[in-house]
């Protein structure tokens, strides 16, 4: 892991890759001839290595945006570029690739492979290094992230928190430009979630990738993000953007600071309307 190893000196290497530009993106689903406007004219620029958290009610269209960046979905109008290169526009979607790795909701480790083989999967199928070396690198990364012991375990034997950590390791080994996380810590209990979030922050401090993180949990957003982008209920529009200026590396102590409370108050006030609207529309979950 070249990217992982050159970060331990504390200096962050000037990043050159991982800029995402989302320009006027609209997505209309058309099931059975009924147009459903999922994303309405969204524009957002994410700087290289920025930790950008998208907050919005479940089903608001934020996952649609993530799927478009990942190459799983088409968009109806607009354009998405990664490092100035168009990866998504009407009628064209760049196929999924190792430069944009997704960590899925509820996790998607391969249950039939041990954690080590899961982590080594990317390098092995990419064929750049022999399988043995790929496994050695995977073990090295697991060691580095404090997951040495679970290499020979199957995902089914692990707790949800451990599985999520292993999955983050599986994403990082590919040295992606962008890490796409789709509510990765959803449905975890508060304590496990806290530990998993800190793990993600530590990993982020090591490798400094651009992160596109989706959640409906405002507190999680504040704790993790450089910038929080609040979206409206469907159709998804950008409602509110908040810069979060806590220093990194962050620990759980951030959450009891005065500044955190101020930001929390600010963002909660800003999204209150949206929460009410979502609530009345019968949608689930906002923060």
């Amino acid at each position: 892991m070249s990217a992982a190893s050159n970060s331990s000196n504390g200096e962050h290497v000037a990043p050159s890759a991982g800029a995402i530009e989302i320009r006027n993106v609209t997505k209309i689903y058309d099931p059975d001839g009924v147009n459903v406007l999922a994303v309405d004219n969204c524009s957002l620029e994410i700087a290289p290595t920025e930790f950008c958290v998208i907050v919005g009610p479940s089903g608001c269209g934020k996952t649609t945006l993530l799927n478009a960046i990942a190459g799983f979905h088409e968009i109806t109008r607009g354009e998405i570029a990664l490092d100035r290169q168009t990866i998504c526009r009407a009628g064209y979607t760049a196929p999924p690739g190792a430069d944009r790795i997704v960590v899925f909701q509820n996790g998607a480790l391969f249950p039939w492979s041990t954690v080590l083989n899961n982590v080594a999967y990317g390098p092995i199928v990419q064929g750049k290094v022999p399988a043995r070396e790929a496994r050695a690198r995977a073990q090295g990364l697991l060691d580095e992230l404090g997951l040495s012991d679970i290499g020979d375990r199957y995902p089914g034997e692990l707790s949800s928190g451990m599985r999520r950590r292993a999955e983050i390791a599986r994403a990082l080994i590919n040295d992606p430009k962008v890490l796409l996380l789709d509510e990765p810590f959803r449905a975890m209990d508060a304590l496990t979630k806290g530990v998993a979030q800190e793990f993600l922050l530590q990993a982020y401090d090591r490798v400094r990738k651009t992160v596109f993180f989706i959640t409906h949990d405002l507190e999680e957003a504040l704790f993790l993000a450089d910038r929080v982008v609040v979206m409206t209920t469907r159709p998804a529009r950008i409602k509110y953007v908040l810069n979060v200026d806590f220093e990194r590396p962050r620990t759980f102590r951030v959450r009891s600071s005065r500044r955190y409370l101020e930001l929390k108050r600010e963002v909660f006030a800003a999204v209150r309307d949206e929460a009410t609207k979502a609530f009345e529309a019968g949608e689930r979950e906002l923060a």
């Binding site: 790795i101 997704v102 509820n106 998607a108 249950p111 999967y121 199928v125």
Partner: protein
């Protein structure tokens, strides 16, 4: 990590459940023996366990008896393996490719409800030797279950696994061998276990009609020859043979899908 956990085996052998099982079998045998002894209705006509044991003692040293076992095993293995070789790839192909599915599925569904035994006359006419007719009927017994389980398993693959694999740069080849196949293996083994049971039902019936050897033939010939204790020996042999074959499949399944083991 050994495949057989001896502590667990010992615990399960000397457990209340085992004791109850033994009691159940002993009661059955006692009822049977006494029923014969006191000429109870229905049971009176059946040879008693003691008579069966005497007959068994005689027949165990007879090499022909074991030849019947071997013959049936070979037939089952042939038909069963053939069913896997044809059925698994066909099921997977149907799951992966809509064209294959729409082309094959209707014919398959028309043939599936036909009992394998109804194929016996056609099989005898169609195949050059009795042996191949019997193997074909056994093949049919396992085939449909195997196809449908492979198809169902491969169709139910979690879309996120496919997407994740695509993100990591998998070629279609990798997706098939490293995602679709392992994800489908548990259902394939379910199909195998069920299919194995059906093959034993079929082999016996096919041998009764068309064979000159095998456990099914042995059972039927004992009836025709009026050797009633031997009928019972034949029946129990078939039961044990089926149990052993399913056990083999289970062990194979445990070895090949280690992530499915309960910890």
């Amino acid at each position: 990590m050994s495949i057989v956990n001896f502590t667990k085996v010992r615990k399960s052998v000397f457990s209340p459940t085992t004791l109850r099982g033994i009691i159940s079998v002993v009661c059955l045998l006692a009822a049977w023996e006494l029923g014969r002894h006191y000429h109870l209705p229905f049971l009176g006509a059946v040879p008693a366990p003691s008579e069966v044991l005497v007959a068994l003692d005689r027949i165990m040293s007879d090499g022909k008896f074991w030849d019947h076992w071997l013959t049936s095993f070979v037939r089952v293995a042939t038909g069963f393996v053939a069913a896997q070789i044809v059925g698994i790839p066909l099921g997977l192909a149907m799951a992966m490719n809509r064209f294959t599915h729409s082309f094959v599925f209707p014919s398959l569904e028309i043939m599936r409800p036909i009992p394998p035994l109804a194929w016996v006359p056609t099989a005898i006419i169609f195949w050059p030797t009795t042996e191949s007719s019997i193997a074909f009927v056994i093949f049919l017994g396992a085939f449909f279950t195997v196809v449908l389980n492979a198809l169902g398993g491969a169709r139910n693959i979690d879309e996120r696994h496919i997407r994740a694999a695509a993100s990591f740069g998998s070629r279609p080849w990798d997706i098939f061998w490293k995602i679709v196949l392992p994800a489908t293996l548990p259902s394939i083994f379910t199909g195998m276990a069920v299919g194995m049971g059906i093959t034993w039902e079929v082999v016996v019936a096919a041998e009764m009609i068309a064979g000159k050897s095998g456990l099914g033939y042995f059972t039927w010939a004992s009836y025709v020859g009026g050797n009633y204790p031997q009928i019972i020996i034949g029946m129990i042999s078939i039961g044990i043979a089926g149990y052993l074959s399913s056990g083999l499949i289970r062990i194979l399944g445990n070895v090949l899908t280690p992530w499915q083991r309960r910890f």
